[in-house]
Amino acid sequence: MHLKSLKGTGFRNLSDFELEFSPTKNLFHGGNGTGKTNLLEAIYYLSIGRSHREAAEDEHLIQFNKDLMRLEGAAEARGGEILVESALNKEEKRLRINGEPQQKLSELIGRMPIVSLSPEDDELCKGGPGNRRRFLDMAISQFSRTYLADLQEYRRILHQRNRLLFDIREGRADAGSLEVWNQQLVNCGAKIIRKRLEVIDDLKEMAGSRYMRISGGRERLGLRYHLSCKTEPGEGVEQAFNRALASSFEFEKRRGLTMFGPHRDDLEITIAGHRIRNFGSQGQQRTAAIALKLAEAEMLAGQLGEKPVILLDEIFAELDRDRGGFLVDQLEPDYQIFIATAKEEDVSARDGFRRFRVEAGRVAPE
């Protein structure tokens, strides 16, 4: 799939823009703070309905002194042409797909698959487990609507159950009523866990070979799903989950929180058998994050039958020249890529790109 055009108004620091993209290679260049990353963010927002920046609140996307942000993009996707219009003001978010107003923002996910690589991906290896769960959830949700629906239902059950634990602790509810929520949590949670396990099996191969190719070394990248509840040999996910909930009632009641389930699980990333979070060098961590993201792109392409759009933010600054070039070469020519970079030499070194110059929020094709 590829994004053909993007029109925007009131988005971050960007002046109103209307851009036509190359179906293969696009490059935004300009100094720091000019708005290159904001352009990538606009593309991401159009595809997913929220920012890929962790700290970004929706209202921060609206330009200072403006009331409204609007994006409109046309893409060529597997189902034909798709037109997405996204608008956001202080009160509400609006979404139209091919002119049809959409009630649920989740309708958008997976229609325009996308994978973003940015310096913030370092958190994937260095940061807390939430980063890795988000990575898995986003990767899977883009090709499985069922998974996305299960996630939403799970969150709802979790909220209900946490509230009930709290009420039980405060003596406002009866401990007996917890059981029905346990059953809901386990049924829904087990579906999520099984899907994650299945996907990790796929990702493991792809990320492993990507890692070897990028690092040029012999170190093995490993992925393993880490359950928050301990399993006995021969025990299924449901059983282990149920047992954990049953044996930790007092603990959970004290905390007023559900301590087991897919919302507490982790994806363990290892290099040569060692956990990268504790033992990996910065270079290893970065290479592993890139390998994971590329594996995500490859997996999405396989699952959806079309290649996702790839965003590369300052990736040249993060890897040495040879590796950066290698990265782009790995993606060419099948993927539509958008690169944002501040380094002029990266730009001049590469041809075949449609270039856009970004200066103080203004974007112009060269």
Binding site: R145, Q160, V180
Partner: protein
């Protein structure tokens, strides 16, 4: 907000207490009433007063009725050995529209939802259990909504009723009739697969 008339702002404030009505809609309705014929507004007011005075909940099934026991519960043609449990009276009407169901109903008047402070004692569960103890019931069909709260309520009822030796069934989650498989949305189809039946 100032509307230049206390009566007008009071009407708007009262209308805004209704579900699904925000300030704008309330204003539109209030101005509509203001412009309408005097009889029309009076008829509405009268209907609301009578609604509260006359309508109550059926002693048996908690459906809305003007009698002690509702028409459905008194109908000799209905099968009293079958009870369909729904969350709200609206859901009862939906099942009735099918014209396929010949048993009785039980309206829970809610679902389990700790977030809203609603536990088993806040919905008509105790009344259902009393009913099951009074009359011989063969089957209870649980027709709560197919969402987290509805499912939890269904599981809760099953745990209570099954030990009485009464058959408990749950309505299926499935595909809309007359639709093509290829056009149905993935989530509905996945749920239908989960709930597949042996042929």
């Amino acid at each position: 907000m100032q509307y230049g008339s206390p009566a007008l702002s009071r009407t708007i404030d009262e209308l805004m207490k209704l579900p699904g009505i925000g300030r704008k809609t309330a204003q539109r309705l209030a101005f509509h009433l203001l412009k309408s014929q005097p009889d029309e507004a009076r008829a509405l007011a009268q209907a609301i007063i009578e609604l509260k005075d006359r309508v109550r909940f059926c002693r048996e099934c908690f459906n809305a009725t003007e009698q002690e026991v509702c028409g459905l519960c008194r109908d000799p043609k209905r099968d009293p050995a079958m009870i369909c449990v729904v969350e709200e009276a609206n859901d009862l009407l939906a099942v009735e529209r099918t014209a396929e169901y010949r048993g009785l109903f039980h309206v829970l008047q809610g679902h389990l939802s700790p977030l809203d402070g609603i536990g088993p004692d806040d919905i008509r569960v105790r009344e259902l259990m009393e009913r099951l103890g009074r009359a011989p019931v063969r089957e209870v069909i649980v027709a709560t909504n197919p969402n987290a709260e509805g499912e939890a309520t269904a599981v809760y009822l099953t745990k209570l009723i099954k030990p009485l030796g009464i058959r408990v069934t749950r309505i299926a989650r499935g595909l809309p009739v007359g639709s093509d498989l290829e056009f149905s949305d993935e989530v509905t189809l996945a749920r239908a697969l989960e709930g597949r039946l042996e042929l």
